[in-house]
Subunit: 178 residues, 2 copies
Amino acid sequence: MSKRAYSLGKVYGLLEPGPAVLASTAHKGQANIMTMSWHTMMEFEPPLVGCVISGRNVTFAALKATRECVINIPTVELAKQVVGIGNCSGKTVDKFSRFGLTPVAASMVQAPLIGECYASLECRVVDTRLVNRYNFFILEVVKAWVDTAVKNPQTLHHRGKGVFAVSGEELRLRSAMK
Amino acid sequence: MSKRAYSLGKVYGLLEPGPAVLASTAHKGQANIMTMSWHTMMEFEPPLVGCVISGRNVTFAALKATRECVINIPTVELAKQVVGIGNCSGKTVDKFSRFGLTPVAASMVQAPLIGECYASLECRVVDTRLVNRYNFFILEVVKAWVDTAVKNPQTLHHRGKGVFAVSGEELRLRSAMK
């Protein structure tokens, strides 16, 4: 993937469709990855993203301690990795190594980008008010990278239990909405 | 659509893929509809849904006052209505009438279901802590209706400015994840 810096004002268009994503973190010298589908845009610019991360995950502790992560958006070629990553724990597995993914240095956070994902969003935690009650973190995207050669990304949309709808045909309608 | 009562424990599988939805409300004798894509699951059961609703929308005032709505999930056949509904205001338009949609009485809330949508989720507001800061409401789904004859729903996933990815092929992978 050849990713370039991407306008923060356009980030909502990447996450609003609801793709399963891979959240990467780095904590105590250990990079880790988590599969995540419970996220939503909360503001256009600066882009804010709300997401639920179970307290059982290594990512939860990393995010609380470092307040940084990268949200990486995979396409269908990575489906097996997306499921595999969701089915093991960073406590016992080096996920970059096991799943053959490439950690790439980010520019504004310590967590690595995942080279094989067509988009990567460097994030900082900006609000933890709902973490205790709902495991809900609010992140600000501080830097975005996208392979803009990917025109109609075949993202994965999780219906539960390993069943995904793959993003298909693109439909363009006249709209004044953002 | 012939919808039947649906297990609340399975609701997450409808919203986790990230479809654009139509939120219906009823307030002061007026039913209204809003197009919404900024939502996320927050808990499996009882199903909790977080969503951002702009303070400029009629839906925002209705939700604050009545604390009830219905989240309806449309498929691609309703794409024009989804965009049309997002491009006009309930202040001046009776959206059920203009867009030829059928209000159907809900069982646990005053807001109507939308007959033409393959799934409808009756919701109550359960947490407004983040409304002032982010326009973020947390809803509990109290009753769900789904047309289970729709096996691979071609839902709409908004990329911004009227561009949608339509849900395509279904992919089934072995997974122990919920």
